[in-house]
């Protein structure tokens, strides 16, 4: 019997009990408050647990990391913008930035573009649900498992010995290769393959959302266009695509953020070697491998700065939705 089982059980049963008890307790406490201020105080008591978690695990640490990025490798030694100067003066670090840009562009094109094409095609067949499940299922597994799955796809054996990787096996069958997919950094080929693995996981996400939006388009509208003699391509180009645009924008922001935060797949498949490093991985290495929290914090801040435009976009879109609520 694992002694930790007791702890886990206590947490699984105890924590919800404590939280529910807390909410009941707030009403008891509020009885002692004057009538008029009750409604004013109550929302804050309901929000308190969430605000504590958000404050302690997101807001305060982010502020501390921003402050830390202006300090050196040792705590408390203020160095101004030195860490950022280091970043922009180090080819290896800039390579990570370039790779993140490749991730943003290609993951969006592969996952959103692929998701849209599949959503439109699959809408026309009877085995739609089945096909969608197959494209969608990689999203449910861990990136670590996906990395293991794809290592066998991209495996490389020296020329002359039998190829064990699926892609090189196919190349060998037509008398080509073998190619060491994860080591060739010409034209960032290895980074592109890491992006393809991630697209394999995320295309289903884009497909599901775009497919739901597609079902929201009135069939009569499309039928009317077809009766008027529009080809399928023109129906898509001039009716379906414009109507899907807002949804494409929403999906793209999620994919862009996934691309900027890319870590797991790079960590497991190449560990950032052969020119595949990305900022999120570089941050972990600088901080916890090299012990330079100044560099690490600066990298985290750069990641945050890259994400802020997307954050602003999300917020303005949210406000526009609230306005029509």
């Amino acid at each position: 019997m694992d002694p930790r089982l007791g702890t886990a059980l206590a947490v699984v049963i105890g924590v919800p009990l404590v939280l529910v008890g807390y909410i009941y307790l707030t009403e008891v406490v509020l009885r002692f408050a004057p009538d008029r201020s009750r409604a004013r105080i109550r929302p804050w008591l309901w929000l308190l647990p969430a605000l504590l978690f958000l404050g302690l695990f997101l807001v305060v640490p982010t502020i501390l990391t921003i402050l830390r990025s202006f300090q050196g490798a040792v705590d408390g030694s203020w160095v101004g913008l030195d860490n950022f100067a280091w970043f922009f003066g180090t080819p290896d670090a800039l390579l990570a930035l370039r790779n993140n840009l490749l991730w943003v562009v290609f993951l969006t094109v592969f996952a959103v573009g692929g998701g849209m094409i599949i959503a439109v095609l699959v809408d026309r067949v009877r085995y739609e649900q089945f096909a969608k499940s197959i494209i969608f299922v990689p999203l449910a597994i861990s990136t670590t498992a996906a990395a293991v799955i794809w290592r066998f796809m991209l495996d490389y054996q020296s020329p002359g010995s039998p190829q064990t990787g699926t892609l090189n096996g196919i190349l060998a069958a037509v008398g080509l290769g073998p190619i060491s997919w994860l080591q060739v950094d010409t034209l960032a080929l290895n980074t592109i393959f890491l992006i393809i693995v991630t697209a394999w996981m995320w295309t289903g996400f884009a497909m599901v959302i775009l497919s739901a939006a597609l079902k929201g388009i009135s069939p009569e509208l499309l039928e009317a266009a077809r009766v008027d003699g529009a080809t399928e391509w023109r129906v898509f180009r001039f009716i379906v695509f414009p109507l899907l645009l807002p949804t494409i924008a929403v999906v793209s922001t999620t994919i862009v953020i996934t691309a900027l935060k890319a870590f797991d797949i790079v960590y497991v498949m190449t560990n950032g070697n052969f020119g595949t490093d990305v900022i999120a991985l570089r941050m972990i290495k600088e901080s916890f491998l090299f012990g330079n929290f100044g560099h690490g914090s600066a990298l985290a801040v750069i990641l945050l700065l890259a994400i802020i435009p997307v954050m602003a976009l999300n917020i303005s879109r949210f406000r526009a939705q609230e306005a029509i609520r």
Partner: protein, 298 residues
């Protein structure tokens, strides 16, 4: 509107023009079948290889095992169970995931109710802040939190990942539940208050039961997110307490240490995928509803 998108049944969309067998239809089916094969092929390759011996894996591709003699066996599965601590990792993953799924649901439900049905100054601004926090990269939080865990003396314990996953999961949890709760009919709450119900009663008797579909979607998301997480466990448990590592970190370590000896990787990956796949196929409807309800608006 913020109500979750209703997925229509395909039958409702009969098309008069598209059902004939033409060159275009054949091409359509061909493209889709090729796509499905491409999507399945990587996983099938690993599944076949996980049933082969290490000598076979190293000397020929998985496709050779499709023709006799196949030489398939479960030996690698028993090897990974006896030679590595993947069974312990499975238990650890459960220990980490279950509390880290339950705690944020409760915390988020209270907050979502306050955001939906209570009036207070700064409500909209505060919720906008939550929307902003949705995308904050976890990297900006690791260094101070790791230091704080060390100072409090809980570094390397399960408690650290329970707390961290709750904090990290909350913005999405609050966002999803508030979108759903806020769309409930106002009259329900008004009549309850007229009947003298307290906010606590209204929450537990009305809001919570009516929010069950969204809570189910959220539970699946948070469960998969935590179960599949590598980064958070790597940072808070990886360096300090190897005994508490979940399967994802174990497998990542296996990849990095083994290099060529891959016969254990396939079985380990499939053991780690088993639970998410069961959850996914059993609850796919809720999963899809959560994704579309969380992202698509109108």
């Amino acid at each position: 509107m913020t109500a979750p998108v209703v997925i229509q049944a395909p039958i409702a969309r009969a098309r008069s023009t598209a059902r004939r067998w033409s060159g275009g239809r054949v091409a359509l089916h061909l493209v889709l079948i090729i796509l499905m094969i491409v999507w399945l092929l990587p996983t099938i390759g690993l599944l076949v290889n996980s049933l082969r011996s290490s000598a076979d894996i190293a000397s020929s591709g998985w496709w050779t095992a499709l023709f006799p003699p196949t030489g398939l066996s479960l030996d690698s599965y028993s090897a990974v169970l006896s030679e590595t601590d993947i069974a312990g990792g499975f238990i650890n993953s459960l220990f980490i995931t279950i509390p880290a799924t339950i705690i944020p649901i409760f915390v988020a439900a209270f907050a979502a109710y306050a955001f939906s049905w209570m009036n207070f100054p700064g409500r909209n601004l505060l919720f906008v802040a939550v929307v902003g926090l949705l995308v904050v990269p976890l990297q900006t939080t690791f260094i101070p939190i790791l230091k704080a865990f060390g100072q409090v003396g809980i570094a390397g314990s399960f408690l650290t990942v329970w707390l961290a996953h709750t904090g990290y999961g909350l913005p999405f949890a609050i966002f999803l539940l508030r979108n759903f709760m806020g769309a409930l009919p106002r009259e329900v709450f008004e009549s309850a208050y007229i009947d003298g119900a307290s906010p606590v009663t209204a929450f537990f008797r009305l809001a919570l039961p009516m929010t069950i579909p969204a809570i189910a979607a959220l539970a699946i998301f948070q469960f998969l997110f935590v179960w599949n997480d590598l980064l958070v466990a790597l940072i808070y448990l990886g360096a300090t307490n190897p005994e508490n590592l979940p399967m994802t970190v174990q497998i990542a370590n296996l990849v990095n240490s083994q290099g060529g000896g891959w016969e254990l990787l396939g079985p380990a990956a499939f053991i780690s995928m088993a639970l998410p796949l069961v959850v996914f196929f059993a609850l796919q409807r809720y999963f899809v509803r959560g994704i579309t309800g969380g992202a698509v608006k109108g």
